[in-house]
Structure formats: structure tokens, C-alpha cells
């Protein structure tokens, strides 16, 4: 069957009442977590992942829980703009760039205009990237089918190299975060030799089952980030009143086309940044903002309420979130922390992520792609229709939201593994993450690493068995070679910059 037929089939499956309802629910939750400062798509997806088992049980299908989580992901990209504009603090890191011009617009009393532009730009970004995704994914998957262990390991290396080279965080701290995640993923048993290892403090009760992904992810995003938000915002936020009436909305909709240029830049750039392993929507939106400013006729307007400055990052973060799904679905490598959680979810639901997904599980892949189109449509309609409602919800005090999230985290981790040790471990990771977060240790790499560790280690070791212990296997194969070289360059890039700065100073 060709792509169009599969896609139409997929869209019809996604339109079935149950799937449609899940997409709707997901979008609403996503809009909410996106809009709440301190919560982003990754928090929403990680905390709600344990709850998707029930969806799988009820529907008996693996695509339904994924449709739900993907809808949260999209919804959050739309929702982030709401608090960036009205509160002036980004609802999620992906919406940081939206504050640059969205906040000035709101302060000028044009919050409605900024919100409408953000919603429409998000929709265009999401749709453009979904079309690109539909075209590229089957092709990439068929290429990836030829990948062996060395190629997959080279891609893993590339994912971590992207964090080091392009992450923008302190490099030694990024490396610590990556190593920590990878080591935690190795606790328990060595799957190749069967030997127990890293039973920390010789405790079999705690560590013989290994450290589960959700324990770390929910610890970091459900506990650690929440503590950090409480500590830095002190439960207080200041909100700009947005006067939203039907007439003003209509006027704003009519005027939204002025931001076409930023939307176009964001849609295309976001997608390609999103594809890069481990880059994701945050760098995508920041880069789109920078490029839109660069090519603008009057860059000095940026930062003072330029509509393009809202449209570019908003279209880019939606576009990048779809782009990040591409390596996740075709290669089994997540392109962002949120897709890392989705990938872990796929494993839990009994799927094997990777290129074979497209040939083995068309019933999973195509309804999901179909749901991308539908969720985007739902999100833009919901967003525009319920902006006043979301503004009211944003007034929900954090002192009620925070304990609810703590309870959800505790119950969610217990329900997923039915083991109280895991809950304690989650709390421990959460408090640890809080202390590291204050010192600006990036934590997303650790979460990504604990997902990738169980794939990276066996592919590395099997490659080395294949090559009799020679590391050249990663360089002299036609596909693995170039990927490895790009990864090494990315790792060395900051080092070169450091040396150059030193030399210039002399």
C-alpha cells in the first residue's frame, strides 16, 4: 500500500470515537501542563505514563495510549505560549523565546493578538512538520532497516554528542549527567553475561531489578523540578489581564497573517532542529527566533512586541516536537526528553521501537501519524475557543497543584512497578535532582541516557565482539563512519572554541 492510503486509513482510525476522545483529553491536559509554569510536556508525559496502562487495557490497542501521550505533547506546545504571554514567565522551557516578544505585546494591551498569533503559528508549524514527517518517516525507516549494531551505537553517540556540543549547558556538567544516566541504566544484571552488577551498597532488595526508567524520570520531573519551581517562584506569579472578546478575537485573527514570515521560518527550521537526536523543541524555538530576527527588515523591533517574534518560536516548538518524533519512530532514538519518555512508554506497552516498527506495526504507526493531524486541529480550536478559561485556570494556586502532582508521582510510580522501594528511590532522585538543578546541572541528558543505556551498551559490546575488540568498526563502515565522525566533531567543538578563546586572549 502506498503512503497516502496508509495515511488515510490511519486518520480514520484516529477519528474513531475512543481515539478522538483520548486526543481531546490529551490536548486539554497538554494545554494545561504547558500553561502552568513549572510544568512542561515532559512533566505531563512522564507523570501520566503509568496511567496509560489502563488505556491500553481498555482499548486493547497500542496506538491509543500513544495517541493520548502525543496529544499531551502537542497541547503543551500550544499551552506554553499562554503563560509566556500573560504571565511573562514561560510555561515550559520550549516557550522561553515566546516571552521575548509575547510579553511586550501583552504589556501593550495586545495580549489577545499575541495569543492568537501564537495559536495559529503553532498550528501551521505543527501541520507543516507533520506533512514533512509523513513523507520522510517511511523513507528513513527503510534506510534504517539496514542498520546493524555499529550504526545504532554511532547514532547513540551522536545523540549524546548533540547534548555536549549544542546543548548550551556547562559541558562537564552535561557529561556528568549523561554518564550518571547511563550508569544507572546498567544497575542490576548484565544482560550479556548474566552477571549481577552494581548492586549498590550490596542491597539486592533495592537494586537487583535494576533502576526503572520512570523512577528517575518522575523523580526528576515530578519531584525535583517541582521543588525547584517552588523554590524559585515562591508560589507567586503576576498576571497581566487579557481582555478577550469575540470582536477582538476576530480582529486578531484577521491581522494574524502579518506574521507569516516568522511562521514559515519557524515551521521549517523547527522541524530540522527537532530531527537532530537530543536537540528538541527548546533549541529549535530559540534558533527560529534568532533567524527570524536576523532576516527581518527591522531587527530592532524584536523584543518590543514584534508579531514575527511570537510566531517564529511558537511555530518552531510545535514543528520541532513533530520533528523529534521522527528519529524516535524510525531509529528508536529520541530527539528530545519528552520523546525519550514516549520511547520508554513504547517499550512498556510491548513494542520494539526502531525501523521495524513501520513494517511490523503499521497498526501502531499510521493511526499515530493520523492523530498528529487531528490533535493539531483539536489543539488550535481548543486553544482559541478556551483562552479565557485557561487564563482562569492559570490562577490555580501552586500550593494546590504541587501536592496533587506529588501524590500523582508517588501513586504513579507505585502503580507502574508495585514496589515501594522504587517510590523511595524516586523521592531520593527527586531531592538529588533539586540540589543539582540549583547549580545548573542539566538533567534532561540523564533522563535520555537511562532510556538509551540499555540500547547503547549491548550494541557497543556486540560491535566489539564482531570486530574482535577493534574500535575501527565504528569508523570504517559506510554509514556508521560518517555518523561517528560527526559525533566526534560535535564533542570536540566546544573544546576547539575554548582553545581559540585562550589563544585570542594572549
Amino acid at each position: 500500500m502506498d503512503v497516502i492510503t496508509l495515511l488515510i486509513d490511519g486518520i480514520f482510525t484516529a477519528l474513531q470515537p475512543l481515539n478522538l476522545g483520548l486526543a481531546l483529553l490529551g490536548v486539554v491536559i497538554g494545554l494545561f501542563v504547558g500553561a502552568m509554569p513549572g510544568l512542561g510536556s515532559v512533566n505531563g508525559v512522564a507523570i501520566l505514563l503509568p496511567f496509560t496502562f489502563v488505556i491500553q487495557q481498555i482499548t486493547g490497542s497500542v496506538s491509543s495510549p500513544m495517541i493520548f501521550l502525543a496529544a499531551i505533547y502537542y497541547g503543551a506546545m500550544y499551552g506554553g505560549a499562554i503563560s509566556s504571554i500573560t504571565l511573562g514567565i514561560p510555561g515550559a522551557s520550549t516557550a522561553v523565546a515566546t516571552t521575548f516578544d509575547g510579553r511586550p505585546l501583552a504589556l501593550q494591551g495586545k495580549a489577545d493578538r499575541a495569543l492568537v498569533i501564537a495559536a495559529l503559528a503553532s498550528f501551521v508549524g505543527g501541520t507543516v512538520s507533520t506533512i514533512l514527517f509523513t513523507g520522510a518517516a517511511p523513507l528513513l525507516a527503510s534506510v534504517a532497516l539496514k542498520f546493524g549494531n555499529p550504526e545504532i551505537f554511532a547514532l547513540m553517540l551522536l545523540a549524546f554528542a548533540t547534548f555536549v556540543g549544542l546543548g548550551g549547558d556547562d559541558i562537564p556538567k552535561t557529561i556528568i549527567s549523561i554518564c550518571l544516566g547511563l550508569i544507572l541504566s546498567a544497575v542490576g544484571f548484565d544482560i550479556i553475561s548474566g552477571a549481577p552488577r552494581l548492586l549498590l551498597f550490596d542491597s539486592t532488595a533495592w537494586f537487583s531489578r535494576g533502576i526503572q526508567f520512570l523512577v528517575l524520570a518522575i523523580g526528576v520531573y515530578g519531584i525535583g523540578e517541582m521543588l525547584w519551581t517552588i523554590n524559585s517562584t515562591r508560589y507567586k506569579t503576576e498576571m497581566t489581564e487579557a481582555r478577550i472578546t469575540l470582536g477582538r478575537m476576530r480582529a486578531a485573527l484577521a491581522g494574524a497573517s502579518e506574521a507569516w514570515k516568522g511562521t514559515l521560518i519557524g515551521s521549517l527550521l523547527g522541524f530540522f532542529v527537532g530531527i537532530l537526536p537530543a536537540a528538541g523543541a527548546t533549541p529549535g524555538s530559540l534558533m527560529a527566533y534568532g533567524v527570524a530576527k536576523m532576516v527581518s527588515k527591522d531587527p530592532s523591533k524584536f523584543g518590543h512586541g514584534e508579531p514575527d517574534g511570537v510566531a517564529a518560536p511558537e511555530s518552531a516548538n510545535n514543528s520541532a516536537s513533530t520533528g523529534a518524533m521522527l528519529p524516535m519512530m524510525t531509529l528508536g532514538i529520541p530527539g528530545s526528553p519528552t520523546t525519550a519518555v514516549l520511547l520508554a512508554g513504547m517499550v512498556i506497552w510491548g513494542l520494539t521501537p526502531g525501523p521495524r516498527l513501520f513494517t511490523d506495526q503499521p497498526d501502531f504507526v499510521w493511526p499515530l501519524i493520523g492523530s498528529f493531524y487531528i490533535s493539531n486541529l483539536i489543539a488550535v480550536v481548543m486553544n482559541l475557543a478556551f483562552i479565557p478559561l485557561f487564563l482562569r485556570v492559570l490562577r490555580m494556586p501552586f500550593t494546590i497543584l504541587a501536592p496533587l502532582i506529588f501524590v500523582l508521582s508517588v501513586v504513579g510510580v507505585f502503580a507502574a512497578y508495585q514496589n515501594i522501594y522504587d517510590v523511595w528511590l524516586m523521592l531520593f532522585f527527586g531531592i538529588g535532582a533539586f540540589f543539582l538543578r540549583i547549580l545548573n546541572y542539566p538533567l534532561a541528558p540523564a533522563v535520555l541516557a537511562i532510556v538509551l543505556g540499555p540500547i547503547a551498551e549491548p550494541t557497543l559490546r556486540q560491535s566489539l565482539i564482531l570486530s574482535d575488540g577493534s574500535w575501527m568498526i565504528f569508523l570504517n563502515r559506510p554509514i556508521a563512519g560518517p555518523i561517528t565522525i560527526v559525533a566526534i566533531v560535535l564533542i570536540l567543538l566546544p573544546l576547539v572554541g575554548l582553545i581559540r578563546r585562550r589563544l585570542l586572549r594572549r
Binding site: 562537564p172 557529561i175 552488577r197 523554590n231 496533587l404 501524590v407 508517588v410 501513586v411 547549580l439
Partner: protein, 177 residues
């Protein structure tokens, strides 16, 4: 914050050394196994040993932690220059009250189960920490466990532990399960 930066780096470095030591451990059933025999690539074509991956990662982590200390010494990062306090009095109190609450929550689960501990934790947080009205605190503390019961115990058939409160739930089991 400057001191915290250094202390954290030292803790990470010490943990890396512990992890390297731990990675080198042979399997417990083989008392003859020499420590650190498993971290290299075996010559008999069985590839890297079980300790290979974690050992070298922990080594990389140690190097990175030392780099953080060097940056600290050179005052090269914002955190190593910052004279701000790491946790001010608000932060300390927040950590104590919130994390203390969470720890008490988990301990209580052991005795009075999830359905006893959840309302107590929520009430503590919303009423005492959040200073919301008594009505709001009671309403939320009562609604959440009811929702959880129907979602987990009834819909998902994941029976959350009830500790000493288990007998109270027997009539509910009879009705819903």
C-alpha cells in the same frame, strides 16, 4: 553557591570512584574472580566484560567532576563566581516542610496505606503549607483518594497497599471488585 558547587563536585567525584570500584566486582558466585578482571575487552572473543561499560563511564564522570573543580578554581562558570546563598532561609524551610511531608507520606503508607496517607499529606500541604480554607483542604483531600480508588483498585485492578486499614476496605471490595 560557590561552596555548594565545590562540595557537589567532590560528592560526584567520590561517587564515581565508588562506582568504578563497584563495577570491577566479579559475580558473587565466583569467589576466585579478580576485581577489575571484567572491565577490559576479553581476548577470548567474548567481547567486553560486565564491568566494562559502567567502569569507563564512571571514569568519564570522575574526569568531568574534576573539570568542574578546575572550573571552580578558575572561577570560570557563573555558579563558581556566584556569591548568592545556595539555599536561603526560605529555601531551607521549603525543603524541610515539603520534603519532610513527602518522607512522612511514604512512611505513613507503610502503616495506614495509600488511602490513609494521601488525604493526610494533601491536608497537611493545602491547609498548613498553602494556607487555604479548611473547606478546600478537606474537599480535595477527600476527593483524590476516592478518585484513586476507582481508578487503580477498581478500573486498573492494581490494588494499592492499605496497611492496617485493610479491613475497612473489605466491604468496598465486595461491592466493586
Amino acid at each position: 553557591m560557590r561552596i555548594a558547587e565545590l562540595v557537589t563536585a567532590i560528592i560526584i567525584a567520590l561517587s564515581s570512584i565508588y562506582l568504578m570500584w563497584k563495577s570491577g566486582e566479579g559475580p558473587s558466585w565466583d569467589p576466585t574472580a579478580v576485581r577489575f578482571a571484567n572491565i577490559g575487552i576479553n581476548v577470548d572473543n567474548s567481547g567486553p566484560g560486565s564491568g566494562f561499560w559502567p567502569f569507563w563511564l564512571a571514569a568519564a564522570m570522575l574526569v568531568a567532576a574534576i573539570a568542574v573543580m578546575v572550573n571552580w578554581h578558575l572561577r570560570a562558570t557563573p555558579e563558581s563566581r556566584s556569591e548568592e546563598v545556595y539555599l536561603d532561609s526560605y529555601g531551607k524551610r521549603m525543603l524541610l516542610t515539603v520534603c519532610g511531608g513527602l518522607i512522612a507520606f511514604l512512611i505513613l503508607i507503610r502503616f495506614i496505606g495509600f488511602y490513609g496517607a494521601i488525604p493526610l499529606f494533601l491536608f497537611y500541604y493545602i491547609y498548613f503549607l498553602g494556607r487555604h480554607s479548611l473547606l478546600a483542604a478537606i474537599a480535595i483531600s477527600a476527593a483524590v483518594p476516592v478518585f484513586c480508588f476507582f481508578f487503580f483498585d477498581v478500573a486498573m485492578r492494581i490494588v494499592l497497599p492499605k496497611g492496617y486499614l485493610d479491613p475497612l476496605f473489605i466491604p468496598l471490595y465486595d461491592i466493586f471488585l
